[in-house]
């Protein structure tokens, strides 16, 4: 049972042992957060933002830590192949930092990378602003604030650049039935970094993940999220970014695993000339469910945003995309394009798309498009005339459809890794690799 009061009780039990328990501002925020969560309850389909993804079932849902799981070190070793030695690895097992597994290459002066628990223990004031509050938070994100046990804290001082990607690896092992992690990324003016979240394992657990990004003037932050959790896991995530003048934020969300995955991705332009790229791919099959809700707020003039989401929906699965672009009254000369395309691969699959434009300025160029369909018969025919049999032609076209999203990832090693991950998921991958 996971009724609301069970969670309130968990907060009461854990409060004293959570990181930063002695930090007054945090204790207050955690208290407010659990109150907000208790007041809201799990969102149901009656809420517009949760219409296609009700969490009401969580009231009755049994959570369990995996009974057996590969050793995190094994998982990590497999993951690290193919990546450069210079990459940074910060590893979390069951929602807590695992320094023994983490591998940190040398970082430039001015760059701080540590576990959130560590930052809270030594310099809680450094994370106070970035930490956020539960005000206006949706229920799962409020729960995250109340219960978060760790996460990453990244601080990039003015003008610093992290050359190699920082990997944040979250492995669900046998230790917990619910995990809550919070990542804070603070990029000062002109700084630059690529941060990758890997979510793995997890059995039948519930995990909440909140990643908060603050990009100051002209900062460039690339965030890649690869979610490959076990197929019974429930993954509720939020990425919340704010961009100062001229800042550039790219978010790539690749959602492959979990029984139910929900990602709320939100970025707000707090200054002129910001740029955002929201890129996403989901592949669901079986009885699984994936939902991306994105929001780009063009609050200031001259902003540019590009959003491309693609979904492969197979089996009995359901893929949901809802993207909203808001252009405020004074955000003149905004240029926004949003697209969402879905391939339905089986009779019982369902794809839902809600591309929304909310525009209050007149000198703007905004367009959105959404499609749900199947593989183009002409393309299929073309391949068959070239001697590729139908099954493989279909697989090839499916891969090509999805790979377009991956090609937008700028960093070579990440792109290669994402491509390999996608290939491994598709049927006939061996032959596909040959054809490619």
């Amino acid at each position: 049972m996971n009724a609301i009061d069970t969670w309130v009780a968990r907060h009461r039990e854990r409060a004293a042992t959570l990181p930063g328990a002695a930090v007054p501002w945090l204790a207050t925020r955690r208290h407010d957060a659990i109150e907000r969560f208790a007041a809201l309850g799990w969102p149901t389909s009656r809420l517009e933002a949760w219409r296609h993804t009700s969490l009401a079932f969580l009231e009755q849902h049994e959570l369990a830590a995996p009974e057996a799981a590969p050793h995190p070190a094994t998982t990590l070793a497999a993951l690290r192949t193919g990546f450069d030695d210079g990459d940074h690895w910060l590893v979390f097992v069951d929602g807590r930092a695992e320094p023994a597994l983490s591998v940190m290459a040398a970082v430039p002066a001015g760059v701080t990378i540590c576990a959130l628990s560590e930052a809270l223990a030594h310099r809680p004031e450094a994370v106070e602003t970035a930490f956020g509050t539960a005000r206006d938070a949706a229920a799962p994100h409020a729960l995250n604030l109340a219960l978060c046990s760790d996460g990453a804290f990244v601080h990039l001082a003015r003008g610093t650049a992290l050359e190699h990607p920082l990997h944040l690896v979250f492995i669900g092992a046998t230790g917990a039935a619910d995990t809550h992690v919070r990542n804070l990324i603070v990029a000062e003016a002109g700084s630059e970094a690529s941060i990758v979240e890997h979510h793995l394992g997890g059995g039948a657990t519930l995990g909440t993940v909140v990643t908060r990004v603050q990009a100051a003037q002209d900062a460039r932050v690339t965030h890649v999220k690869l979610q490959r959790q076990d197929e019974r896991a429930i993954h509720l995530a939020q990425i919340e970014a704010s961009q100062a003048r001229g800042a550039h934020v790219a978010s790539h969300s690749l959602s492959f695993g979990a029984r139910l995955a929900r990602n709320d991705i939100h970025t707000r332009f707090d200054g002129e000339g910001c740029e955002a790229l929201l890129n996403g791919l989901y592949h669901v099959d079986g009885r699984r469910h994936v939902d991306h809700h994105t929001l780009i707020e063009h609050a200031h003039p001259l902003g540019t945003s590009r959003e491309h989401y693609r979904g492969l929906v197979d089996g009995n699965a359901r893929g949901v995309f809802a993207g909203r672009i808001i252009v405020a009254q004074d955000a003149q000369r905004t240029d926004a394009i949003q697209r969402c395309d879905n391939l339905l691969l089986s009779k019982l699959a369902e794809a839902d798309a809600r591309p929304e434009l909310e525009i209050y300025a007149d000198d703007v160029k905004c367009a959105h498009g959404a499609t749900v369909g199947q593989i183009d018969e002409d393309a299929l025919f073309y391949l068959r005339t070239r001697g590729v049999d139908e099954t493989h032609a279909r697989q090839l076209l499916t891969y090509a459809f999805a790979a377009e999203v991956i090609e937008r990832i700028a960093q070579d090693s990440l792109r290669r890794h994402a491509r390999a991950t996608l290939l491994a998921r598709l049927p006939g991958s061996a032959l596909l690799e040959e054809l490619l």
């Binding site: 369902e350 798309a353 434009l357 703007v364 959105h368 498009g369």
Partner: protein, 491 residues
């Protein structure tokens, strides 16, 4: 010719747009008539009173009361992107009719000449001498239908075209068979209210295999103060029948808001075609948003039969607030649904409009074409839903949804929802938002076209795809409404 050869300055552009937008509401006059009005307020007694005034059978009264009881348990919808103070449903007159000597006019000659003049003034041909217009009209004034033309000629084809009240008396079996089968009484808050208190409207029945020889139309006029208009239209096209139906509406200029909550139900059986066109020009309120009609309407078509087709075309220029989503349920195999819409909001007008296409049958097709124009401080929202159910093999939808912004204080929103549960479905949605570009204006002016004509041309071109779906007479009216004829409005 003294066409300017330099790009239009911001001032020229503003002038042109200003002239384009400043059109007067010409239908804003009021007709003074003796009326039979029930007191303000809503209760079961009001409903019994309305039903008694109309001499309705018991089953219909029960149906109304049932709807009223449902309505009492419901709350007004809040999801639309419109804002207005709460409506006091006890402060509305639910029934108002021009006083007549007997039960009602038996023919046009008995219709109050004042009424005829009103409709004449609005350009609605009620007199049979207007035969040339080739359109049969049912004229609804406040709560009742005052005249229906061409009934005899239509009757020869077996077509029933009369007011709803008349249909209840003359064809109760048809009304009973179809009423509420597309929009059930408890469908939504305003539909429930309408089901409880609806006063009049049109009833159309086209029998098997008949192609209606002329356009049918209803003209709705709100006249009395403090009244709400709650009309109900029911159109049934039997196997192989076809009909084109037009609807127009106006209201006097008043400082208070008036409620209009209509329900329209269309039913198309096998191979039937229904084309429903609306030019909605209710009073939009003044420049400061004072007054105007709240247009909260439920319109839905049911393609019940195979190969049936229902097409909605609407030009929405009036009303302070528009809340309306003409929809099609594509139940029959190979049925087709269309929605073509132009919605213009100016000053403080708010429109939240769009459509729902529910694909249930095999090989069903739907097209949605929406053009939204926001000017002044207007707010224009397209809200759409395309649903492909698990049985709807081969469903196909194409949606194109464009917004044009005129002025930096207006708003345009696009909220489509797509739900697909069949892998053979193809659903596409495209939307763009833009404004009239300086370069477009410059190009036209360079060729000797005045700025205001250029704006009108651009707006017209923007809406063309929808206008061409309108019957000719309406297309002309629609273009006029959008201010196409701007002759001499700029010095």
């Amino acid at each position: 010719m003294n066409a300017p050869l330099s790009p239009p300055s911001a001032a020229t552009r503003a002038d042109a747009l200003g002239a384009f937008l400043e059109q007067d509401y010409t239908a804003g006059f009021e007709t003074r008539l003796e009326t039979d009005t029930v007191p303000k307020g809503l209760s079961e007694d009001t409903i019994r009173l309305i039903s008694a005034r109309k001499g309705e059978p018991d089953w219909l009264l029960d149906w109304r009361l049932e709807a009223y009881r449902r309505w009492l348990t419901m709350t007004p919808p809040t999801w639309a992107a419109v804002s207005f103070p709460p409506i006091d449903f006890q402060d509305i007159v639910y029934y108002s009719a021009p006083k007549s000597k007997k039960d009602g006019p038996k023919s046009l000659d008995e219709v109050d000449p004042e009424l005829l003049r009103t409709f004449e003034k609005l350009g609605v041909p009620l007199h049979e001498r207007a035969r040339l217009a080739g359109v049969a009209v049912d004229a609804v004034f406040d709560s009742v239908s005052v005249a229906t033309t061409f009934q005899k000629e239509l009757g020869e084809h077996g077509i029933v075209f009369c007011s709803f009240s008349e249909a209840v008396k003359t064809h109760p079996e048809l009304v009973r068979q179809y009423l509420g089968t597309v929009v059930p009484p408890g469908d939504n808050f305003y539909a429930a209210l309408n089901s409880a208190v609806f006063s009049d409207g049109s009833f159309v029945f086209i029998p098997k295999g008949v192609k209606c020889p002329m356009e049918l139309s209803t003209y709705f006029r709100i006249n009395a103060r403090d009244t709400g208009q709650f009309e109900r239209t029911l159109i049934v096209a039997e196997e192989g029948a076809s009909v084109s139906y037009l609807e127009g509406c106006t209201a006097p200029m008043r400082d208070e808001n008036q409620l209009h909550a209509a329900v329209v139900e269309l039913i198309a059986l096998d191979d039937a075609k229904i084309k429903y066109s609306t030019v909605q020009n209710w009073y939009p309120g003044d420049k400061d948003g004072k007054g105007g009609i709240y247009n909260f309407v439920t319109k839905r078509g049911d393609c019940r039969g195979a190969r049936s087709r229902i097409s909605w075309t609407q030009v929405e220029t009036g009303s302070a607030i528009t809340w309306k989503y003409p929809s099609v349920i594509l139940r029959g195999d190979d049925s087709v649904g269309d929605f073509h819409s132009v919605a213009l909001t100016n000053n403080l007008q708010q429109a939240d409009t769009g459509t729902k296409m529910i694909h249930m049958g095999r090989n069903t097709r739907s097209t949605i074409l929406s053009k939204g124009i926001s000017a002044g401080r207007g707010s224009n929202t397209f809200r759409g839903m395309v649903r492909v159910t698990p049985r709807a093999e081969g469903a196909r939808n194409y949606t194109q949804c464009d917004s044009l912004l005129i002025g930096d204080r207006c708003a345009a929103h696009t909220f489509p929802t797509i739900e697909v549960r069949h892998p053979s479905a193809r659903v596409e949605h495209e939307a763009t938002t833009s404004r009239i570009g300086e370069d477009q204006l410059f190009y036209a002016m360079q060729r000797g076209i005045s700025a205001e004509d250029a704006v009108s041309m651009i707006v017209n071109g923007f809406c063309r795809e929808v206008f061409k779906e309108l019957p000719m007479e309406f297309a002309v009216e629609a273009q006029k409404l959008l201010g196409v004829s701007l002759e001499g409005s700029v010095g």
